[in-house]
Symmetry: C2
Subunit: 416 residues, 2 copies
């Protein structure tokens, strides 16, 4: 049973801001799901003294330390040696791991393994090896002085693979209680408004706990319980869930929907419906997010990024007269774009987005943040106007979030 975890990412590229610490995000999500509380994230550079100091602090305050990165074959990959020294654990050569690494070179890179990769087969004495079939850096777990120490490679897809296939099963087998969360999805209320409505439920709640979180176009409410079994967790959650639903009524439009694009793909597939997209200011973001979802091809046929009036007219068939009379950022054009995408792809439904993400407004006086979203369907097309705040990136994300929310609300009304 682990009580408190710290995730320690090692890599100067993180401190230079070259990349975001998405590994820590991923591992945190997965640990939360098996009932491990993550209390700290730390990032430190490829520097043995500072890594040692960070390790010494972490072992005083947590009983599960997860190191990510610095397991490669080069001189600046120092995590294993530094952490093992801190815990007084020796490393030893693993013949089977060595064979896996040289096999990976032979089968995937199609060349002989360089000598420097031998370093990667040295692992802490007595550790559990986290075998890595998707790269060359194996992970490991060992326990010393009452602290469990795991090491994972920093390459994102290797980190994700080892977390799912090796670390989580290891941890799950050692947990005495579990955590279960449900997420209620709320649309049409701001986060402060939700806090106002639920303040008393939130302030007192420990197990189950209740936390609101504004995400894109919606507010998510996370209800979390900790207990010995799943059934016990559900028993703790049920009354709180009911109380929240009573107070917020129809604003609660779903439970555990995942990301809005995941939910859209599932809801469409379940109903045997397809969607397409015609995007102007979101510039492909809606298509990109839908196709992030494995299996999207069952529900998403494709789309058009119409970044110019020429493409709106030439590919989507938006009448030139509409573009001239109302401008590209207008309700009639949003409607014609959605209908155009539906017609040329043959999809059941089609989303369209046209708007101003900034930095500049248009020559018709529309301010940055003006966005029209269309949803075309057999019975006609609905268009919603939004005035969004934020910078270019944020406005694009919000516009896509609203488009998914409109689609999901519409799908919810159709059986099943």
């Amino acid at each position: 049973m682990f009580h408190h975890a710290e995730i320690i990412a090692v890599g100067s590229e993180l401190l230079l801001g070259n990349v975001a610490n998405t590994d820590a995000q991923y591992v945190s999500q997965k640990l939360a799901a098996v009932g491990v509380d993550v209390l700290y994230h730390t990032v430190v550079g490829d520097n043995p003294e500072r890594l040692r100091q960070v390790t010494d602090i972490a072992r005083q305050r947590c009983d599960l330390l997860i190191f990510i990165g610095g397991l490669g074959p080069t001189y600046d990959d120092l995590t294993k040696d530094t952490v093992c020294a801190a815990f007084g654990v020796a490393t030893e050569f693993h013949e089977d791991v060595m064979e896996e690494i040289s096999g990976y070179f032979k089968n995937v890179f199609r060349r002989e393994m360089p000598d420097c990769n031998r370093r990667q087969a040295y692992l802490p004495k007595g550790c559990t090896v986290l075998h890595n079939p998707v790269g060359t850096a194996p992970g490991c777990v060992f326990t010393a002085d009452g602290v469990t120490v795991a090491m994972l490679p920093g390459v994102p897809h290797e980190c994700r693979y080892l977390t799912d296939h090796a670390l989580l099963p290891y941890l799950q087998a050692r947990q005495e209680s579990m955590i279960l969360s449900h997420t209620l999805h709320v649309f049409g209320l701001t986060e402060p408004k939700v806090q106002e409505e639920l303040g008393d439920l939130m302030n007192g709640a420990v197990n189950p706990s209740l936390a609101p979180y504004a995400k894109g176009a919606e507010v998510q409410l996370r209800l979390t319980a900790k207990a010995a079994t799943e059934a016990d967790c559900e028993r703790l959650l049920a009354p709180l869930m009911q109380a929240v639903r009573q107070r917020l009524g129809a604003h609660v439009y779903g439970v555990d929907m995942g990301s809005p694009e995941q939910h859209a793909v599932q809801a469409l597939t379940r109903r045997g419906l397809t969607v397409s997209a015609a995007e102007s200011c979101t510039g492909g973001l809606i298509a990109k997010r839908l196709t992030d979802v494995p299996g999207a091809s069952a529900a998403f046929l494709g789309g058009v990024v119409s970044y110019t009036n020429g493409v709106k007219h030439g590919v989507l068939g938006v009448p030139e007269a509409l573009l001239q009379q109302y401008g590209a950022v207008s309700e009639p054009v949003a409607k014609a774009m959605a209908e155009g995408a539906r017609r040329i792809t043959g999809s059941n439904l089609a989303l369209s987005v046209t708007g101003l993400a900034g930095p500049d407004g248009d020559d018709r006086g529309n301010p940055v943040g003006t966005v029209y979203i269309g949803l075309a369907k057999a019975g006609g097309t609905q268009v919603t106007q939004l005035f969004l705040k934020g910078d270019r990136k944020s406005i694009r994300q919000q516009a896509a979030d609203y488009a998914f929310a409109l689609l999901n609300k519409y799908l919810q009304k159709i059986n099943p």
Copy 2:
């Protein structure tokens, strides 16, 4: 003059993995650019005891602490009170800040300011206020016991705005030296190969320093110098730059190109050329990344996400015979897709991507990771076949990176 910085992000949503710590990434990038070394990132939840403990550790090892998040109006926004208590600094009410906040409510939210937002006008006694015109949470900077403490809001666009417009000017005015970096972009060599070629230059280098970094389809070499003036930095960098270029020859294909999509938009715009995209497995990612760049509309006309054969044929005009004979993931289809996008959008150039991002291969025996990239231009269409490794997300990113690299290499060959 600041020597060592620590960035401390406050927010339980980071520890739950709901969001990645992109604020720390952004601030790190900007600090590096003004010559501040970031030695640690720390993330802690909305918990005053742990935040206090983290603050006490940070002030022992760094002389610049940057806190991000927890400046909102609600009960769990505790950064200001906790940090001020740690440094023995009182807070005081700022009338002018209060007016800015209530003005923001009036002008942007179009409603009266709730009472709880009064909390946000209390700031550390004697601090420099970082005024926030893009949200309600002001930032601040103060110095106590030889440590400079800055606080920034956690909402990403507010954090970015205050970093650029308030924090950086404040820090820059207090720096005695500056840091200058140049990035050389290398295409066609792996990172280990680059390390092999440049090992002796890298190992000895301190000022200027030389660090390789694999990013997408290319390897980036970051050359960094620290000196009193920009001219002094350039003088330090010149001989190293020349030595690297001599060793790597034509593999170095650019300097300080920014992201590949930024470079593509700039290079196209400078040459008066336009591009479009026909995307299958990248599903809109290329269009999305191009339109992430402000001003993309000068160079990017639009594109088609053809996630099904129906859309490849119906919208892009890929002959059905080709799809049947060679399959969607094939050189002839990549060629026809690029040519189709070029024809229907009227662009000068067009990129196409068709491939298998996984999790499943296709029924013709192509393994996951098989990707064809096409570049159509007036003189004909070139198609490159790739075998990429990684999971779905990684393969999609790599495919887009390769497409941009091919486009950028092609543009480099055209004058100017």
